[in-house]
């Protein structure tokens, strides 16, 4: 059964139509001993990727794909890593992108797929001055 209704798909397809560069979502899941949110995350991503041929989903095994885990700094599963034209965007999501988190998924896809961010000029100026690695973790709940 689809998570997205036909109407949702139509609206989302329109939103995603501005994407003009390839977006790859690396989905790290743990098959054995993992939580149920892994398969949910995969279903959500597959349904969204079907709506735009520039979006692709590549599933990674959290336990076995240690090289990619290290490369992208993935510490938990399920995890989503967003690549823009093959380049790491440094945007991650941990957990299934459902509920309010679905909005975050769409935003990440749009940023990765257009290269455009909706930030104030002052924010961009402050970010230009960041010269040390900075990790921002935002905790939220889907509902």
């Amino acid at each position: 059964m689809s998570l997205l209704s036909a109407q949702d798909e139509q609206v989302l397809k329109q939103h995603l139509s501005v994407i003009d560069k390839p977006v790859t979502v690396l989905l790290f899941t743990q098959t054995i001993g993992g939580s149920e949110s892994g398969p949910v995350a995969k279903q959500v991503l597959d349904e969204v990727a079907r709506l735009n041929d520039k979006i692709s989903v590549v599933e990674k095994n959290f336990i076995l794909d240690t090289e990619d885990r290290g490369k992208y700094g993935v510490t938990m599963a399920p995890a989503l890593v967003f690549l823009s034209d093959g380049q790491d965007t440094r945007m991650r999501m941990y957990g299934a992108p459902t509920g309010y988190e679905f909005v975050g998924l769409v935003e990440a896809l749009l940023i990765a797929g257009t290269g455009k961010v909706d930030l104030e000029d002052d924010t961009v100026a402050l970010l230009a001055g960041v010269d040390t690695p900075t990790t921002i973790q935002v905790f939220s709940t889907p509902t």
Binding site: T132, I136, V138
Partner: protein
Amino acid sequence: MAFTSQQVTSAAIDAMEFMDLSRKFRVTGVPKTIVNESIEIMGALPEDMFVRAALQVPDDEQTAQT
């Protein structure tokens, strides 16, 4: 922010899914933001306030006067 600065990595984390991490950072309400495992920002702030809090940039004069 992560897309704009190569120094920044961002992670949206489902607090209910990753309870151990939530406990580690004493997440009792959402959204809660943790920067470099030390700076805590509670709630959803306006963009300018959030960025300054996250990057530990003091308010500018104009902001300080208001």
